[in-house]
């Protein structure tokens, strides 16, 4: 039984991580061909340094991700507070549905809708519309995370703070925010990586001069598997992996108590 269990786990993880590891290995392959190992080489990474278009796209992606994640986290917090605490206010159902819809909507539909709206409003498409679009679709993810966090709180701590003289707003800032700090961080990270990865919505809602990294990778991939793409992909994977590892370590340390 024990053996069967380990085997299942092994196969599962091999399936999940295999392609990624192979990709990473390929990025160090001196040969362009997937099937031939031409020796270890970092030349594709070096080539990246000259690739202005890709570097620029990376910069754009990172800044869009940071900005839209910040907006999405703030808006998501407000939405979560409203849904968790404001009782059955009028049109709550509609609000709830609208906030959660992007979770299940196909991205093409969302991208289509946003682009149409930007055109109709007369917005020039570019960096700003991109940030807006990303904040809009990641907001539903942040609000789900934060809603769960708020619902899991012990209400008596906030009551205790108010009992001791804190106004409801101060009680929120002094007790609730520290308590959901880990969830705030993971909500931000979630929105960040979703924005960083997004291809479809970006394609619809961005403009000239604001090409994101996934868009750049995509356009290169359509021309065929190139080793430079392997290099930038591996870098991207490593980047996200490091963020994940840091956050996992940081978020696992604080108090296991809350008794």
């Amino acid at each position: 039984m024990r053996f069967a269990r380990s085997l299942v786990l092994l196969l599962g993880f091999a399936f999940l991580y295999g392609p990624i590891l192979i990709l990473a290995a390929m990025s160090f392959n001196a040969s362009k061909l997937v099937t031939v190992w031409g020796g270890f080489s970092t030349k594709w990474y070096v080539a990246l340094l000259d690739d202005a278009a890709t570097l620029n796209a990376a910069k754009i992606s990172l800044s869009v991700a940071a900005l839209s994640a910040a907006i999405a986290t703030l808006l998501g917090l407000a939405a979560a507070v409203a849904l968790a605490r404001f009782g059955g206010f009028r049109t709550r159902g509609l609000f709830f549905g609208a906030v959660h819809a992007p979770l299940v909507l196909p991205e093409v539909v969302l991208g289509l809708a946003l682009l149409s709206a930007f055109v109709a409003f007369g917005f020039e498409r570019g960096f700003v519309t991109l940030v807006i679009a990303h904040a809009t679709f990641t907001m539903c993810f942040t609000s789900v995370v934060l809603l769960a966090a708020l619902r899991g709180l012990d209400p008596s701590q906030e009551e205790a703070a108010m009992d001791l003289g804190a106004t409801p707003m101060r009680a929120f800032a002094l007790v609730v925010l520290p308590a959901i700090a880990p969830s705030l961080a993971s909500a931000f990270l979630l929105a960040f990586t979703l924005s960083l990865d997004d291809l479809v919505i970006a394609s619809f809602t961005t403009g000239p001069g604001a090409t994101t990294l996934p868009m750049r990778i995509y356009s290169q991939v359509r021309l065929g598997v190139t080793p430079e793409v392997n290099a930038i992909s591996t870098l991207l994977l490593a980047f996200v992996g490091i963020i994940l590892a840091i956050s996992a370590l940081a978020l696992n340390r604080p108090a296991r108590d809350l008794a």
Binding site: D154, Q157, A160, M162, D163, L164, A179, A255, D257, A259
Partner: protein, 348 residues
């Protein structure tokens, strides 16, 4: 003038009536208890005073001032929560200082006040500890210190001893009473544990189903319960159903025999119930009295609880010291004094 005055407070949650026309007063420096089974409304009443609920009707005044509309953070009332509700991201010192900081006290004032409280709850030098490092008893003391720090005139305690084990509970009872007497703050504890209420309070309000059944001192509640419910809820009792007979004085006719009653205002033939505490029945090997048979002996250390069968399918619980001189099946006689126990008219 009483410190706290609740006048005709009522509160319902949907179809459930939590409080039904409840009135009581708490004096300055008094240790008061709200006692009752779960669902009786004691917690709702406490939250009403703290400001977390508003009454549908009625008034709550503190030191003569109507508290209507005042939110919790503006009431000079503090609460010690059942779960303690300590802030996990702050250490002991900062938890206790929380209320003081909200009041805008100076750093120096906060330092001395927190030190004072740590002293009172006997947790000196533990100010830097994190909450997760504290034991249950220590957390309770920090919760108490934190609630007392702002110097409220009234402290509400929600089942303060419920989470502690027995030994710790007894010890903490003494400390709690001691602290209350020293600070002269009014304490109102909410509890379902009648031993706790009897031991701690100067006065007790017994509640049931949103109403107050009786308010009185512990001896009053125990010896002169106002209703069957209070008699049954506070302390153990034998509730014997029967009727009254007037025949050269008052008699209570129980299934197992007639008992003379010293003063009985009920008329002849009236249905009634006699509440007899186990310690009010004297058991002897022979003599005058109700005949019975020892059915069960439970040795409890300082007392022994006997179950004496007195009639077909009826047994009385008797408590006596050195009751292990009896043995199972032994025939005995039960002596019940004419003024022992309380007689309740039917449906009281």
């Amino acid at each position: 003038m009483p410190l706290l005055s609740v006048e005709h407070a009522s509160k319902r949650f949907g179809a459930v009536v939590a409080l039904d026309d409840v009135s009581l007063t708490v004096d300055s420096g008094e240790f008061f208890a709200l006692l009752g089974p779960s669902g009786c409304g004691k917690t709702t009443l406490m939250r009403l005073v703290a400001g977390f609920e508003t009454p549908d009707s009625g008034r709550v005044t503190l030191a003569g001032q109507d508290l209507a509309g005042a939110p919790p953070h503006r009431r000079p009332v503090n609460m010690m929560f059942q779960s303690y509700a300590l802030f996990p991201h702050l250490n002991v010192f900062d938890n206790i200082a929380f209320g003081l900081r909200r009041q805008g006290a100076s750093r120096v004032a906060i330092q001395s006040r927190v030190a004072e409280l740590l002293d009172i709850v006997q947790m000196q030098n533990l100010g830097a500890r994190r909450i997760e490092q504290l034991s249950g008893g220590q957390r309770q003391r920090v919760a108490l210190a934190r609630a007392l720090a702002p110097g409220p005139s009234l402290l509400l305690l929600d089942e303060p001893l419920a989470a502690l084990d027995r030994k710790l509970r007894e010890e903490t009872q003494f400390q709690l009473k001691d602290i209350q007497r020293r600070l002269k703050t009014s304490f109102v504890i909410v509890t379902h544990d009648q031993d706790e209420a009897l031991a701690l309070a100067d006065r007790i309000a017994v509640m049931r189903a949103g109403k107050i059944e009786q308010i009185g001192s512990p001896p009053e509640i125990y010896e002169r319960p106002a209703s069957r419910f209070v008699a049954g809820f506070v302390g153990a009792t034998n509730m014997i159903e029967g009727f009254v007979a007037r025949d050269d004085g008052g008699w209570f006719v129980a299934p197992f025999g007639r008992l003379k009653r010293a003063d009985c205002a009920l008329r002849d033939g009236a249905r009634a119930a006699l509440s007899l505490r186990p310690e009010q029945i004297v058991v002897a090997r022979d003599g005058e009295g109700v005949p019975g048979v020892v059915e069960d002996i439970a040795f409890r250390g300082e007392t022994t609880q006997l179950r004496i069968g007195v009639a077909a399918r009826q047994a009385l619980r008797v408590s006596c010291t050195n009751g292990n001189r009896f043995s199972l099946g032994e025939p005995v006689r039960l002596m019940i004094a004419p003024d022992a126990g309380v007689l309740f008219a039917e449906a009281e």
